[in-house]
Amino acid sequence: DVTVYTAGPASLIEKLAAGFTEESGIKVEFFQATTGKVMARIESEAANPVVDVLISASWDTATDFTARGWLLPYTSPNAKNVPDFLKSETTVAQGVSALAIAWNPNSGTPAPKEWADLAKPEYKDLVNLPDPAQSGATFELVAALEAQSGWKLFEDLAANGAIVAGANAEALNPVLQGAKAAVFGAVDYISFNGKEKGESIEVIFPESGTVIAPRPAMILNWSKNQDEAKAFIDYMLSDAGQAIIAATNLMPSRTDIAANRPLINDLNILKIDSEAVYAGRADTLASFATIFGQ
């Protein structure tokens, strides 16, 4: 058996687990929650951990776990086609999501093209931002945009009545219902999923660039089922596994897998200096909060 703790869509891990069990006969027990809850559980369990494989929604956790020496070095044979920036000695991305503008075409506003568009008067009081304190990806977006052009953009947004509204899903719902017109920095795959269901929502990746959130998968070094864990990683990176990931509208981490959505290479990815950005995290969040009057 292998125990997987995962942040991310429940349907994804359900399908991966089912597929893996079918292929290998190994049972998968999983625990699925937000990244925060998964980490809190691992932290609390630290005295007597049970998790074998961890799939996080934030690359940062992988870095941190590596630094703590909690991870088992493993490079899957299937990881050949995973770009280098999506893998390390201990970690490999399962898939990738990106941040975008999610815009409701029924909102009676012009379609935005750029982040800065949302600070225009047409969008007065109609923009939601996910809270960077609660979403790692949003934080990176804020940090990257701030590094690029300072706080001006966010000050404009705030002046234009943009509102910080909880985590990703919470920010999206008002846009779907029409209370707001757009999310500044929505997680793309959720919006794609909505669109697939017939919601009136468009996902717009600004030309000026955005950030991605790779979903690192790793094996904990205390795992008593290391072989099964490795097999699970292999399966996720296999054709079948990557197809399941693509079907949930995430970008597969292997570049050779097709998907029905823009892929990494189609996007302009903002460069960030992770170390510096995370070192200044508290300050960044504080400035952000001040701007949005929290």
Binding site: A47, N48, V50, D64, N106, A133, A169, P174, G194, G198
Partner: protein
């Protein structure tokens, strides 16, 4: 017969003490330890108190604490305002359909707060259902402190309603009638006699509401952020969900909550021990409810209005969302359909399993907390044991602990490698979590009820040969049963939909209703989640109805 040493330990007290240690002391102690020793999770006692200064030095802490107090007091006050008049009507008069109103008032507990809040948001926000139907919205009100208090009150006032109506029912109208003979008008008699005599129930339930309000996460998080209104729980949640996880910080902040609720507890305790409220004595007086007469229609209208706001409005919002194909489609006929329900019924295995897990846990938690609550309340109010004050304090500790912190405490406690057996990673850990979080409800209700019982009723049972436990079972328990039953129904309702702790401690591979629903939301399938929520609310409502009708006459005590 062997004589024992002075005042042998009453087994009821002993049972209560053991139960409290397992359910409350263990997780609480670990939370305190965690607050002191940041590395506790890794089994290390290094760097004690190192996080204290940093956490308490937070510039926002004072404001958050102030906001938390404001919220708690506001919700308690508004709950009393709504619930007390209803409770008085319900307990002293023959209100048509009383049992139905009761059950309907239980529903707010069955709606997970985050769903209820979402329902309100989707109803009142710009272009929400209210706007779609009537062309206006109430967003400014909803996203303000008043909105938060309003929504939270609608979720909590039944606690006061049930407690006060049971208390007044036990008091009966006799004492007020006596006051009227001595010249008090009906209103004066109510103010001077009935209301003060219902202090135990009122104070206890307001304490519960206060604690629930200061530890509730969903509503202030969803509504408060926009109003710039942050409270301690949002701070706590941030610390446990934001990498790097700050468990000690969360533990320290929750201890502030505990201190707040402890303050409220002291006030409550002072109120109900200052005077005697023993209205049920050895010379029973039968008490018949009065007819409402020409007040029937207005009273029913008030009940209907409150039930509409607290129960029907969120349920309708949930239903509307569940029936909508897409959120963006709005309330148009073409956008409505049973697609979400069909999806659930076509792949119902997971949902059904979650449902039966939650119902099972809910029932067990209700029974266990009911028993433990009654025993602890007995130990505190009726036994003359030394140290019963300590038991009383124990029963309020979990009151204000956010579910997530309880969950952390439980994991810390029960996931130790040296434990020979552990409930961790079994359904039992969920049960422990629910018992810990919900124990205060039966305890407070039972405490209030015990304060109304004359001492001679138990004394007589003992003299006629009943052991302490038999006297408890045959005499005391039936006498407090109406209150206890109401609180157990509350426990059942809350336990079947508890989310925050469930998410964290649920054994791998096990889903409860709430985690099931929550996962639908997470994937953006709001409609699916709402459909599931609607179905489970129906089922959890039917369940107590069936149980109560099976219980026959005693069930109608509700």
């Amino acid at each position: 017969m062997g004589a024992k040493s002075v005042q042998p330990v009453n087994p009821a007290v002993l049972l209560a003490a053991i139960g409290l240690v397992i359910v409350v002391v263990v997780p609480f102690a670990l939370i305190v330890l965690q607050a002191i020793f940041p590395e506790l999770g890794r089994g290390s006692l290094a760097a004690p108190f190192s996080r204290l200064a940093q956490t308490l030095g937070d510039a926002k802490l004072l404001r958050m604490t102030g906001n938390t107090m404001l919220l708690g007091l506001g919700v308690a006050a508004l709950s009393a305002l709504i619930a007390v008049p209803l409770a008085v009507m319900r307990s002293l008069f023959r209100v048509p359909g009383a049992l139905v109103w009761d059950i309907l008032m239980l529903v707010p507990f069955m709606i997970p707060p985050y769903i209820a809040t979402l329902g309100w948001i989707m109803s009142l926000q710009p272009r929400g259902y209210l706007f779609q139907l009537f062309g206006f919205d109430l967003a400014p009100f909803l996203f303000s402190i008043w909105g938060i208090i309003f929504v939270m009150t609608l979720n909590t006032f039944p606690v006061v309603y049930f407690a006060v109506s049971r208390t007044i029912e036990a008091v009966g109208s006799r004492y007020a009638d006596v006051a009227r003979v001595f010249g008090a008008s009906g209103w004066k008699a109510f103010l001077r006699i009935t209301l003060p005599l219902s202090t135990p129930g009122l104070a206890a339930s307001l304490l519960l509401v206060f604690a629930m309000a200061i530890e509730e996460y969903g509503t202030p998080a969803a509504l408060g952020r926009r109003a710039g209104f942050d409270v301690l729980v949002t701070g706590i949640d941030l610390r446990v969900s934001d990498w790097p996880i700050d468990l000690p910080g969360a533990a320290i902040l929750s201890l502030i909550l505990v201190v707040l609720s402890f303050g409220a507890f002291l006030v409550q305790r002072w109120l109900i021990t200052r005077r005697s409220y023993q209205t049920t004595n050895g010379k029973p007086q039968s008490f018949e409810k009065r007819e409402l007469g020409r007040w029937k229609a207005p009273v029913v209208a008030v009940f209907a209005l409150v039930v509409f706001l607290a129960t029907c409005a969120p349920l309708l919002a949930i239903l509307a969302t569940a029936l909508s194909r897409t959120l963006s489609g709005g309330l148009t006929w073409s956008n409505l359909g049973f697609g979400n329900f069909i999806t659930i019924f076509s792949d119902s295995t997971g949902a059904l399993r979650a449902l039966s897990t939650s119902l099972g846990l809910g029932v067990t938690a209700a029974l266990l907390t009911g028993l433990l609550g009654a025993l602890s309340a007995y130990a505190v109010v009726k036994s003359k044991m030394r140290g019963r004050g300590v038991l009383d304090v124990l029963t309020i500790l979990p009151n204000a602990l956010p579910g997530i912190v309880v969950a952390v405490g439980l994991i810390l406690a029960w996931n130790q490698p040296w434990l020979p057996i552990t409930p961790y990673n079994t359904a039992l850990i969920l049960l422990l979590a629910y018992c810990c979080i919900l124990l205060p409800q039966p305890v407070r209700y039972a405490t209030a009820a015990f304060h109304q019982l004359g001492d001679n009723l138990e004394a007589a049972a003992r003299v006629f040969g009943a052991s302490p436990l038999t006297a408890f079972r045959r005499i005391l328990l039936p006498l407090i049963f109406p209150s206890l039953l109401a609180s157990m129904l509350l426990v059942f309702a809350v336990a079947t939909r508890e989310l925050v702790a469930s998410i964290l401690v649920a054994p791998v591979g096990m889903q409860t209703i709430s985690t099931y629903i929550w996962r639908q939301f997470e994937q953006g399938s709001v409609g699916l989640g709402m459909a599931m929520a609607f179905i489970t609310i129906l089922i959890t409502t039917l369940f107590p109805l069936v149980v109560l009708s099976l219980m026959g006459k005693r069930g109608s005590l509700l």
